[in-house]
Amino acid sequence: MAIVVEDADEAVAGIEDGSTVLIGGFGPAGQPVELIDALIRSAVQDLTVVNNNAGNGRVGLAALLANGQVRKIICSFPRQVDSYVFDELYRAGKVELELVPQGNLAERIRAAGAGIGAFFCPTGIGTPLAEGKERRAIDGRDYVLEYPIKGDVALIKAFRADTLGNLVYRKTARNFGPVMATAAKMTAVQVSEIVQPGGLDPEAVITPGIFVDRIVKITASSQLAAVGAAG
C-alpha cells in the first residue's frame, strides 16, 4: 500500500548499492529531479540506471552520473547536445552503456511489470543491436527474443496523486512513468499535489495506486528548462 512520505530523502531511503533504478523522463520532461538529488545525497553506489537518455546539462541524472554513482546506463538516446557529462564518462570508460531501441526499452519494462518472461519483437532485425540474440520466424516475419528489464526501484514524476497512490500525469511528461511504475519492487513518485481519495476522477487515473509505494509532494519542482537538444 502506498504511503505519503515527508521528503525526497525518505522517498529514496533504503536503496542498496548495486540496485537497478528505473528513472522516468524523456530528456527534461518528467525527470524526477528532486528524487535524483536525494539519491545523490544518499551516496548509494554502483547503480544501473534505466532512462531514455543519459542526462542533460549538469542537473538531475547528469549530476548523478557526474557524482560517480552509476556503473551502467541502459538507454535509447545518450548522445544529445547537452549530454557532455555522460559523453566524457563514456569516452573515459567510466560508465557502461547498453543501447536499446526506444520501443524495446518501453516494452521490456512493460513486460517486467506485466510478468512476461520474454517476447519476440521485430525491431532491430538486420542491425548490430540484434546480434547474438535468439531469433524466430513467425508467420513469415523475423523476430528477436527480448527479455524484461526489471527494476529494484523506480523513481518517477507525476502531476497529482491521491493518498492511495493513484496518479495522473501532465502532457508529455508522462512518457516512461506508467510503465516504470509497474516494473520495480519499490516505486517512489514525486508529485506537485496530493489529494484525498475521491479527489481524482477514477476514469482519468493513469497509474492505479497498486503500482505505487511512496509518494512525496515536491512544492517547487525545479522544472528543467526545455532545451533544444536533438534526440
Binding site: 524523456f26 530528456g27 527534461p28 520532461a29 518528467g30 531514455n52 542533460n56 535509447s76 538516446f77 545518450p78 548522445r79 544529445q80 559523453d87 563514456y90 569516452r91 552503456l97 543501447l99 536499446v100 531501441p101 526506444q102 520501443g103 524495446n104 526499452l105 518501453a106 516494452e107 519494462i109 512493460r110 519483437c121 521485430p122 525491431t123 532491430g124 532485425i125 538486420g126 542491425t127 548490430p128 543491436l129 500525469y169 501532465r170 502532457k171 508529455t172 511528461a173 508522462r174 512518457n175 516512461f176 512513468g177 506508467p178 510503465v179 493513469i206 522544472q223 528543467l224 528548462a225 526545455a226 532545451v227 533544444g228 537538444a229 536533438a230 534526440g231
Partner: protein, 220 residues
C-alpha cells in the same frame, strides 16, 4: 495535392521546397511521425486543412507547431526536446503505447533523415560506426520497420560528393527493406517490386542522375 509543376525542375530543390514537396505527398488525414532535423520542416507545410495528425514518440498525437515565449511549457516537448503546442483533439500516452502505434502498424507515414539508403530500401540513419562516435538510436528502428510508409528526406549527396543512395549501405543499418520513397534535392525515388524508379528530377536529367548513382534507368 500540389502539382509537380509547382517546382522549378531546372535546378536542385531548396530545403523548404523539398519539405513542401514531401508534405504534398502525404495523404490527407494520415497519422504521421516526423523525424528530427529536415523532416521536422515538413510540418510547416501540413496545415489544419490537411487533416494530418502528427505523432511524437515521446507520447502525443495531435502535436502542434513549436512553442515560443509564454506558450513554452516544460512538460510539453517533441522528440527533439523542443517545446511544442497541442492542437484541439490532442492525446497523450505512455512510451509503450507510443511504440505499439509504430510496431503495430497503426502509423501511416514516417518521414526520416538518413546517412544512407540502399536501392533495396535498407536504411542507415542512427550510427556512423566511427570508433569514437557515441551511438544513439532513439525510436528510429521501431519507426522504420513499423510505419506503413517510410519516406526518407535527405540531400542526395554527402559533403564529399558521394551519393547517399547506394547499392548497399556501408553504415550500420536501422532496418532492412523499409523505405518506400526517397525525397532529395536532385530527385524523388520510388521503391517498387521491380526495383528503384526515378519519379522526377531537379537540376539534372534522368539519364545523368541514373548514371551518377549507377542505377538502371527505367523509363516509366
Amino acid at each position: 495535392m500540389i502539382m509537380q509543376s509547382a517546382f522549378d525542375r531546372s535546378r536542385p530543390l531548396a530545403r523548404d521546397d523539398l519539405a513542401r514537396l514531401t508534405a504534398a505527398d502525404i495523404p490527407p488525414g494520415s497519422h504521421v511521425n516526423l523525424g528530427i532535423g529536415l523532416p521536422t520542416r515538413v510540418a510547416d507545410f501540413l496545415g489544419p486543412e490537411s487533416g494530418v495528425i502528427l505523432q511524437t514518440e515521446n507520447g502525443m498525437l495531435g502535436m502542434g507547431p513549436q512553442a515560443y515565449g509564454d506558450d513554452i511549457d516544460p512538460d510539453l516537448i517533441n522528440a527533439g526536446k523542443l517545446p511544442v503546442t497541442e492542437t484541439p483533439g490532442a492525446a497523450y500516452f505512455h512510451a509503450a503505447d507510443s511504440f505499439a502505434m509504430m510496431r503495430g502498424g497503426h502509423l501511416d507515414v514516417c518521414v526520416l533523415g538518413a546517412f544512407q539508403v540502399s536501392f533495396d530500401g535498407d536504411l542507415a540513419n542512427w550510427h556512423t560506426g566511427a570508433p569514437d562516435a557515441i551511438p544513439a538510436v532513439g525510436g528510429a528502428m521501431d519507426l522504420a520497420l513499423g510505419a506503413k510508409n517510410v519516406f526518407v528526406l535527405m540531400s542526395l549527396f554527402s559533403k564529399d560528393g558521394s551519393p547517399k543512395l547506394v547499392p548497399k549501405c556501408t553504415y550500420p543499418l536501422t532496418a532492412l527493406a523499409c523505405v518506400s520513397r526517397i525525397y532529395t534535392d536532385y530527385g524523388v525515388f520510388v521503391l517498387t517490386d521491380h526495383g528503384i524508379v526515378i519519379r522526377e528530377t531537379y537540376g539534372i536529367s534522368r539519364n545523368d542522375l541514373a548514371r551518377r548513382l549507377m542505377i538502371t534507368y527505367q523509363d516509366d
